[in-house]
C-alpha cells in the first residue's frame, strides 16, 4: 500500500492549554516531514468530517494527536483499509502534568509522543488475515457425562455438527450412578429424580450429533479449524497415541541409553494420519474421579463401614442405607480446618442429599453432618434450609478427632470444637467421608494433543491439576487455543453449574471456529487479523519461540525450525520478544517499529536535568491504569515516555539496547502479575519478560552500565493510584545514579 500521511492535533480537552500547538505541529511538519492540521474538537462531527475530507482526497494513514487510543476508537475508525495511529496527548500529557510542571518539559513530552506516532505510522503496514485452505466446522466433545452431553446438545442446537466421544459403553457418566439429584427449580427444597436419561435421549435423538461410545481419543493434531483427531477403542494402545514431550535434556539421556524412550512405537507428533477425522474445535468434558481418602488414617478409612460419599451413593442406589450415619466433611485431625481436597461446595450439598437417604430409608434415621464449612451457593441455600429442617438431620461445625471401629462393626466418631460447645461422641452404623472430585487432568494429559510442548495442559501443578482457565479474565480459555474445558476438569461443580459451564464452552468452541474461518484471533485479542510472520532464511533453530509460546502455537521440524499454526496463535508476540535473530514480526507490530519509536524520542545530551526514560507498558492492564491515573489528574513524571506493547512477553531485548544506546537513562517494563494468581492475559508473558530482564542485567554490566537502569514492575489494572509513584521512584533512583554515560555518542 502506497501510504499517504496526514497528522491531526486536537486542541480540546485541555491539550490546547497544556502545550504550544503551533510549535508542536511544527515538529510534525518539520522534523517528521508530515502534513499537520489542528482542530478544536476532532472527535465531533465536524472534526471527523475534517479528517474524512482528507481521506476522501487520498490520505490513507492518519496520525491523531488527541485522546488515549483506548477511547473514541469507533470515532477514529476510517475503515479496514486505512491506518490510524493515535498519540496520547490528552491523558499522558495534558491530564498527567505534575503540579509544578515546567512548560518546556510538557512541550517536549508532547513532541516526543507526536514523533513516536509519526514513526509508528511510517513503520506499520495493514495486516492481511491468515486463511486456512479449508476450515472444518465440526465440534469434537470429549466425555459423555452431564458436561459433554450439554456441550454437544448446545453446539448441535446452534447448527454445528458434533461428535461426542465417550470412553464407557454408555453415555451418562457419573450421573448414571446417582439415586437422586439436587433440586433444580423452585422451591429448591426437595431432591429430584435423576434426569440423566432424558439428557442422553435428547443428545442421541439430535440429528447433528454423532455418538462414539467405548471410544477414546488417541491424539488431537492440527490447529483450530483443522484439528486432525485419531480415535481408538477405549482401553487400547495405538501407535497414534499422543507422544510425551521429550526435551533436549531427556533426548540426550535417551541417546546415551540412560533412560528409556517414552515414545517407543508411537508416531512422532508431526506425522499426519490420513485416517484422522477433522474438527474445528474441541470441548474437553472428561470430568472427575472420586478422590482417594485412605491417607486419613485417624478416620479408619479401611473399616468396612467407613465409606466415601461416592460409595455411599452406590449403596443408596442399590438399596437401603443404615439408620445412623455420620457424614464427615473435613478430615479434621489436629492440624487444620480444611475440607478434603477437591471438594469445593459440591460435597457439602452431597452430604445434605445423602443425609436425606438415611431419613427416607429409616423411620428412626439419624444423620449427623460434621463440617468445617457448609457451602451451599445461590439457591442451594434453600436446599440446605430444607435439609436442616428435617428432624433427624443434625448439623454442627466440628473438628473430627477420630473414628473408631467397635467389635460389632459399628463406629464411634469423636469430635471437638462443636457448636454445642462440647466435645461429642457419636455412635453410628456408618461413616461417610466427603471425598472430593479429582479432575481427570490431574494425572493424565487427557486432551492428548500432538503438540511440540506435550500432550497435556501446562503448569497444572499451579492449579491442583485443574485445567487452567483463569476464571476471572477468561473463564473458558485454556492454553491450547480451540480447546475449551467445562465441568469437572475445571472445578468441582454441581450439575446445575456444569450445565451452564458446558453451554458456555460450546459457544466458545463455535466462536473459535468462526474466528479461525475469518482468520482472526480469539480472546483476548479477539478480531485481531495480524499474525506473526517468520523470515526462515535467518532462523538459527534456537527453539526459543517454540519453547516460550504460551499457547503451544509453534511446532517444529526435526531440525528445530518452527512450524507455525496461525489459528492456534493469540497474537501476543511472545515469539517476537523471544527471537534473538529478530526474524518474527507482525505487519503492524514489529521489532523495527517499536525500536524506531524508542529511537524517535529526542534525548537532550547537554541538559543534566532533562533525563529521558522509556516505559514499555502492557496495553491490557498497565496502560489503562496509567490512563486512569491521568483521569484523576494524578501527576506523572514528564521525563518518561510510555510505549504500549501487546504483552511484556513481546518485548525484545534489542529494544532495551536501542533505548540505552540512544541515550535514554532508564527503561522500565510495566506488566501484569505472574505466578499462580497471574493476571497476564497471555498467561506467561510478564513472567518471561521478567526472566529476560534478569539476563540483560549481566549484559548491561559488561557494557559498563548499571543493571538498575532496567526494571520490571507488576501492576494490576486497579493500581492506578500507585502507578505515578512507581514511575517516580524509578526516575528518582536513576537520577541518583546520574545520566546514561552513552548519552551523546
Amino acid at each position: 500500500m502506497e501510504k499517504k500521511y496526514c497528522a491531526y492535533i486536537c486542541t480540546g480537552c485541555g491539550i490546547g492549554e497544556a502545550v504550544d500547538i503551533a510549535a508542536l505541529s511544527g515538529v510534525v511538519s518539520g522534523e517528521m516531514k508530515m502534513e499537520c492540521k489542528t482542530h478544536a474538537v476532532l472527535c465531533g462531527e465536524v472534526g471527523k468530517g475534517f479528517i474524512q475530507a482528507d481521506i476522501d482526497a487520498g490520505v490513507n494513514t492518519v496520525v491523531i494527536g488527541a485522546c488515549s487510543p483506548r477511547v473514541m476508537q469507533d470515532v477514529f475508525d476510517f475503515g479496514a483499509d486505512k491506518i490510524t495511529i493515535r498519540a496520547n496527548l490528552r491523558e499522558q500529557v495534558a491530564w498527567s502534568r505534575p503540579e509544578d510542571a515546567k512548560p518546556d518539559y510538557t512541550q517536549e513530552l508532547a513532541s516526543d509522543y507526536m514523533r513516536m506516532a509519526c514513526t509508528q505510522a511510517k513503520k506499520t503496514e495493514l495486516p492481511e488475515a491468515y486463511q486456512l485452505e479449508s476450515v472444518n466446522k465440526r465440534v469434537l466433545v470429549m466425555g459423555g457425562g452431564i458436561a459433554g452431553l450439554t456441550a454437544a446438545r448446545e453446539a448441535a442446537k446452534a447448527g454445528y455438527q458434533v461428535t461426542l466421544v465417550e470412553k464407557a459403553e454408555a453415555l451418562g457418566g457419573k450421573a448414571l450412578g446417582w439415586r437422586k439429584q439436587f433440586p433444580s427449580k423452585a422451591p429448591w427444597t426437595d431432591l429430584e429424580e435423576c434426569s440423566i436419561d432424558e439428557m442422553v435421549k435428547a443428545v442421541t435423538s439430535e440429528g447433528n450429533v454423532t455418538v462414539k461410545t467405548a471410544t477414546e481419543v488417541a491424539r488431537v493434531a492440527g490447529a483450530p479449524g483443522n484439528f486432525e483427531v485419531t480415535f481408538k477403542a477405549a482401553g487400547t494402545k495405538s501407535e497414534w497415541d499422543a507422544p510425551a514431550k521429550v526435551g533436549a535434556d531427556e533426548q540426550d539421556k535417551i541417546t546415551k541409553g540412560e533412560m528409556p524412550d517414552p515414545n517407543v512405537g508411537l508416531k512422532i507428533y508431526t506425522e499426519k494420519n490420513a485416517d484422522a477425522e477433522k474438527f474445528g474445535s474441541v470441548v474437553l468434558a472428561t470430568g472427575w474421579t472420586p478422590a482417594d481418602v485412605s491417607e486419613y488414617t485417624h478416620l479408619s478409612p479401611a473399616s468396612q463401614n467407613v465409606v466415601t460419599n461416592a460409595q455411599f451413593e452406590k449403596l443408596a442406589k442399590a438399596g437401603k442405607v443404615p439408620a445412623k450415619v455420620a457424614f464427615i466433611q473435613s478430615p479434621g485431625g489436629s492440624e487444620n480446618d480444611r475440607d478434603f481436597p477437591y471438594c469445593n461446595s459440591v460435597t457439602s450439598m452431597v452430604a445434605l442429599k445423602q443425609a436425606q437417604y438415611v431419613r427416607a430409608d429409616n423411620a428412626e434415621g439419624k444423620a449427623y453432618i460434621l463440617y468445617q464449612h457448609m457451602r451451599t451457593p445461590g439457591q442451594m441455600e434453600l436446599f440446605y434450609k430444607s435439609a436442616q429442617n428435617n428432624d433427624g438431620i443434625f448439623l454442627t461445625k466440628a473438628t473430627v478427632t477420630g473414628v473408631e471401629e467397635q467389635g460389632d462393626g459399628s463406629l464411634v466418631v469423636t469430635a471437638k470444637d462443636t457448636l454445642l460447645n462440647e466435645d461429642l461422641t457419636l455412635a453410628v452404623d456408618m461413616v461417610v467421608l466427603a471425598a472430593g472430585l479429582v479432575p481427570t487432568t490431574k494425572d493424565q494429559p487427557t486432551v492428548n494433543l500432538a503438540y511440540r510442548q506435550g500432550p497435556g495442559f501446562l503448569d497444572l501443578d499451579l492449579f491442583d491439576g485443574y485445567a487452567d482457565s483463569h476464571f476471572i479474565c477468561f473463564p473458558y480459555e485454556t492454553r491450547r487455543t480451540g480447546v475449551y474445558t467445562c465441568g469437572g476438569v475445571r472445578k468441582a461443580m454441581t450439575m446445575e453449574e456444569t450445565v451452564d459451564d458446558a453451554t458456555g464452552a460450546a459457544l466458545k468452541a463455535i466462536q473459535c471456529i468462526e474466528s479461525a474461518d475469518r482468520g482472526v484471533s480469539v480472546h483476548p485479542r479477539s478480531g485481531d487479523n495480524s499474525f506473526p510472520e517468520f523470515f526462515f532464511q535467518r532462523c538459527t533453530q534456537c527453539k526459543r519461540c517454540t519453547e516460550e509460546c504460551p499457547f503451544g502455537a509453534l511446532d517444529d521440524d526435526e531440525k528445530g525450525t518452527p512450524l507455525p499454526n496461525p489459528t492456534r496463535c493469540r497474537r501476543c508476540g511472545t515469539c517476537m520478544g523471544a527471537c534473538p535473530e529478530r526474524i518474527i514480526n507482525f505487519k503492524n507490530y514489529n521489532i523495527d517499529m517499536i525500536g524506531s519509536m524508542i529511537k524517535a524520542i529526542d534525548v537532550p545530551d547537554d541538559d543534566e536535568d532533562k533525563l529521558r526514560f522509556a516505559v514499555l507498558v502492557c496495553e491490557n492492564d498497565a496502560y489503562p491504569a496509567i490512563d486512569m491515573a491521568a483521569m484523576r489528574r494524578k501527576g506523572i513524571s514528564n521525563l518518561v515516555r510510555f510505549v504500549p506493547v501487546r504483552c511484556l512477553g513481546s518485548v525484545n531485548m534489542v529494544w532495551i539496547k536501542d533505548a540505552l544506546s540512544s541515550g535514554l537513562d532508564g527503561v522500565m517494563l510495566l506488566g501484569c502479575r505472574y505466578g499462580d494468581d497471574y493476571q497476564c492475559h497471555f498467561v506467561k508473558g510478564s513472567e518471561i519478560a521478567n526472566k529476560r530482564m534478569d539476563n540483560i542485567g549481566e549484559t548491561l554490566k559488561s557494557l559498563g552500565l548499571e543493571p538498575e537502569r532496567v526494571k520490571v514492575n507488576q501492576v494490576a489494572i486497579t493500581d492506578f493510584d500507585k502507578v505515578p509513584q512507581l514511575v517516580q521512584d524509578f526516575v528518582d533512583e536513576i537520577v541518583a545514579l546520574g545520566p546514561n554515560p552513552f548519552k551523546g555518542f
Binding site: E364, K366, K385, Q388, N389, N390, D391, G392, F394, L395, T396, T414, L419, L420, N421, E422, D423, L424, T425, L426, A427
Partner: protein, 410 residues
C-alpha cells in the same frame, strides 16, 4: 470441657417440640442474634442460642435441667429479631411445656394435660365428680325458689342440714377442693423437687454445703417471689412489653380473690360460729355489695377478666403478626382463667337478677373451672407459678456462695 458428651438425639422430643409451638426449632443456624438481644444472656452462656442447638439435637435431659429455660419470660425479642424465623421464644415455650409434663406427678395425669387430646377428659373429670356430688348431696336436682335463693345465694348449692358447726355446703366444697388443692400442692412439690435435683445435678461438682430450709426460703425463695410480684423481668422485655399490662392485673386479681376467699372462709365458717344470731344471719349468705371486701372481690373479678383478656388479645396478635404458633399449652391457661372469671362474675350477676336455674348452672361451671385450675395447675402452663419461682430461686442459689466456688468462681 474435656469430658466428651455421648450424643443420642431423641427424635420424639424433637417431634414433640415441633407439635407444641416449636415447629421452627430446626431453622436456627446459630448466628447468636438471639443471645445479643436477650436480657437473660450472659457472657459464656449464650442464651437461648445454646438451648436452640440442644433442642435441634434432641438433647432433652439438658434442656429440662436448664433453669434459663424457665427464667425466660418470652418477651419475644429473640423471635422478633431472628433472621431465620427460628422463633427461639416459641421453642423455649415448647420446652417449658415439655418440662412441666416431664416433671409432672403422676405421669399419667401430666401426659393427659399436655395436649388438646386430653381436654375432654380434663373437663369430664370435674363435671362428673361435682355433678355426682351435687346430685347426691341435693337428693337430686333441687333448685331453690327465688326467695330462698335471694336469701342464701349459693349457700345451699349442695343442700342444707342442721349441723351447726359445719354447713353441708362447706362440707362438700371442702370435700372437693381441699383434696384437690392438697393433691396439686403435693404434685407441685414433687415436680419442683425433681427439677431442683436435676438442675443441681447439671451444675456438676460436689457440694459440701447445702442451704438449710430457712436459708433456702430467706435467701432464695422469698427474694424470687418478691421479684415476681414486682414484675421486674417483664419490664425488661422489649417486643412483648405490653404483656405486663395483662399479666400484672391478673396476678393482682388472683391475690385479691385469694384474700376474698380467705375472708369469706373466716367470716362465714369460723367467726359466724361464735357471734350472735343477728350477726350470723348477716355473715351467712352472700356478702352484701356494700362490704368493701365484696367491692374488692368484684374489682378482682373484673381485673381478672380484663387481664386475661389483654393476654388473649396479645397472643392472637402475636400469632397473626409474628407468626407465633397457636398451642394448647398457651391457650388452655388463657381459656381456663377466662372461664373462671366469666362463670364467677356471671353467676354473681345472674344471682342478683334472681334466676336460680341459670345461676346454679353457671355456678356449677364455675366450680368445674376452679377445680380444673387447681388440679391441673402442676401440669399446664399455670405450673410456671411454681417452676418459674423455683427456677428463680435456683438462679439465686446458683450465684450464691453455696455453688459458685465449685464452678470456678463464675
Amino acid at each position: 470441657m474435656s469430658v466428651s458428651m455421648r450424643v443420642e438425639p431423641d427424635l420424639d422430643f424433637i417431634k414433640y417440640l415441633k407439635s407444641a409451638g416449636g415447629d421452627s426449632v430446626k431453622k436456627c443456624y446459630q448466628c447468636a442474634t438471639c443471645s445479643v438481644v436477650c436480657p437473660l444472656s450472659a457472657d459464656g452462656k449464650p442464651f437461648p442460642r445454646k438451648e436452640m442447638i440442644w433442642a435441634q439435637w434432641g438433647l432433652k435431659d439438658r434442656l429440662i435441667a436448664d433453669p434459663d429455660v424457665l427464667l425466660c419470660h418470652q418477651c419475644g425479642d429473640c423471635t422478633a429479631n431472628c433472621p431465620r424465623g427460628a422463633k427461639p421464644g416459641d421453642v423455649l415455650g415448647a420446652i417449658r411445656a415439655y418440662a412441666y409434663t416431664c416433671y409432672g406427678f403422676p405421669q399419667g395425669l401430666a401426659k393427659m394435660c399436655s395436649s388438646g387430646k386430653g381436654l375432654p377428659m380434663m373437663i369430664l373429670i370435674p363435671v362428673v365428680l361435682i355433678g355426682v356430688l351435687f346430685a347426691l348431696a341435693n337428693g337430686g336436682m333441687h333448685l331453690p325458689s327465688v326467695e330462698e335463693f335471694k336469701e342464701v345465694g349459693f349457700g345451699h348449692f349442695f343442700g342444707h342440714w342442721d349441723f351447726f358447726w359445719l354447713t353441708k355446703n362447706v362440707f362438700f366444697i371442702d370435700l372437693i377442693f381441699v383434696p384437690a388443692f392438697l393433691f396439686a400442692a403435693f404434685a407441685s412439690f414433687k415436680g419442683a423437687k425433681a427439677m431442683w435435683d436435676k438442675m443441681s445435678e447439671s451444675l456438676g461438682g460436689n457440694r459440701e454445703f447445702r442451704p438449710s430450709v430457712v436459708q433456702f426460703v430467706v435467701e432464695f425463695l422469698a427474694p424470687a417471689v418478691v421479684e415476681t410480684l414486682q414484675h421486674k423481668r417483664f419490664n425488661q422485655c422489649g417486643t412483648n412489653q405490653n404483656r405486663v399490662k395483662g399479666h400484672l392485673p391478673l396476678v393482682l386479681a388472683f391475690l385479691a380473690l385469694l384474700f376474698v376467699t380467705g375472708y369469706s372462709f373466716l367470716s362465714k365458717d369460723v367467726v359466724s360460729l361464735f357471734v350472735g344470731e343477728e350477726l350470723r344471719a348477716y355473715l351467712h349468705g352472700p356478702i352484701p355489695m356494700a362490704n368493701p371486701v365484696k367491692l374488692l372481690a368484684n374489682i378482682g373479678a373484673i381485673a381478672l377478666i380484663i387481664g386475661v383478656g389483654i393476654l388473649w388479645a396479645n397472643r392472637s396478635q402475636a400469632e397473626e403478626e409474628q407468626g407465633t404458633t397457636a398451642t394448647f399449652y398457651d391457650w388452655f391457661l388463657i381459656g381456663e382463667i377466662m372461664a373462671v372469671g366469666i362463670t364467677g362474675l356471671g353467676a354473681e350477676l345472674i344471682r342478683l337478677l334472681g334466676i336460680p336455674s341459670l345461676a346454679y348452672f353457671l355456678y356449677f361451671l364455675h366450680l368445674v373451672s376452679i377445680f380444673m385450675l387447681f388440679l391441673y395447675m402442676p401440669y399446664t402452663k399455670f405450673a410456671h407459678l411454681v417452676y418459674r419461682t423455683v427456677a428463680m430461686a435456683f438462679e439465686r442459689y446458683r450465684q450464691s456462695a453455696f455453688v459458685s466456688p465449685a464452678v470456678g468462681g463464675k
